[in-house]
């Protein structure tokens, strides 16, 4: 008898792969920095879901994956704070956060 759908690792791994693909697509397609930031968050979530699925189905100690995903969440939160402050600083200088218009660098 095959286990039910929520007891198979393949389902979770497929959802994580879909999230990764969607995040990469958004990262390429988006033209504003906030849209790219949101896509990056989806990629982070895909990595965390992958770690949690392998933790549930393959790791001998169920604590390891949860601690690792907690660290991923902390780093993602720090990344969002830094990125949003950079976006606000860029908007103050350029009056735009479209990635095509922000193309000059000054030392």
């Amino acid at each position: 008898m095959t286990p039910s759908l929520h007891d198979q690792a393949g389902v979770y791994l497929a959802v994580a792969a879909f999230l990764l693909a969607a995040g990469i697509y958004g990262l390429i397609r988006r033209r504003t920095f906030i849209g790219m930031l949101i896509s990056g968050e989806i990629i982070f979530s895909a990595a965390a879901l992958n770690v949690m699925a392998l933790n549930r189905f393959a790791a001998p100690d169920p604590v390891v994956g949860q601690v690792f995903v907690l660290f991923i969440m902390g780093l993602a939160a720090a990344e969002v704070a830094i990125t949003l402050s950079i976006i606000i600083a860029v908007y103050r200088n350029y009056r735009s956060i479209h990635s095509k218009e922000v193309s000059e660098l000054e030392g």
Binding site: I34, E41, M52, F57, A58, P60, V63, Q66, L70, G74
Partner: protein, 183 residues
């Protein structure tokens, strides 16, 4: 055991997976940025459900608390402070659409061919459950076990991540304050 409860669990799982997928699609495909943020929140709620099914209610709570409660609200503040709406992308022409469909077909064929040739994907994935059933669990994975391991085995990364968060907060304050004129 209630009759039909396995069907109910399967239906709830399907709803959660659909929420995750739909949320990520909304986040990536919509043109208005505020809808995109809403899609990210929906996707994170679905992910919290997936974490619950993976046996970690604590992480499900943390996902909702951190992502929906903190990250999405912060991004909404960023949206309000700038004007991020992007122009509608030009409609796909037939030639580009044909190239896209061709790329999808080729990549699907390569993936299926590799799986069929090696035959290891299905074997290794269905082995995963059996291995964990064979090996006895070292801990029960409860919140208590997480706290103990955070303060013993992983105490150094735990302290380091608090340092990273502190530096990130200070850096965000300094960067966002940069070009502001003194009143």
């Amino acid at each position: 055991m209630i009759p039909g409860s396995s069907f109910l669990v399967g239906a709830i799982f399907a709803v959660i997976v659909a929420t995750t997928v739909a949320g990520s699609l909304i986040a990536v495909l919509s043109t208005r940025i505020i809808r995109s943020v809403t899609g990210l929140a929906l996707c994170c709620i679905g992910l919290a459900g997936l974490y619950y099914f993976l046996g970690s209610p604590f992480l499900a709570l943390m996902e909702i608390l951190i992502y929906v409660g903190a990250v999405c609200v912060t991004i909404v503040f960023g949206v309000m402070l700038s004007e991020p709406d992007e122009p509608r992308p030009p409609a796909l022409r037939g030639r580009e659409l044909a190239w896209g469909i061709g790329a999808i077909l080729v990549s699907a064929a390569v993936f299926l061919g590799a799986v069929r040739l090696s035959g290891r994907w299905t074997a290794s994935v269905s082995d995963l459950g059996r291995q964990s059933a064979a090996a006895p669990a070292a801990t029960d994975g409860s919140v208590r076990a997480i706290g103990i391991s955070l303060l013993t085995t992983y105490s150094l990364p735990f302290e380091l991540i608090s340092l990273v968060l502190l530096v990130a907060i200070l850096g965000a304050l300094v960067i966002a304050r940069g070009g502001r004129s003194r009143q």
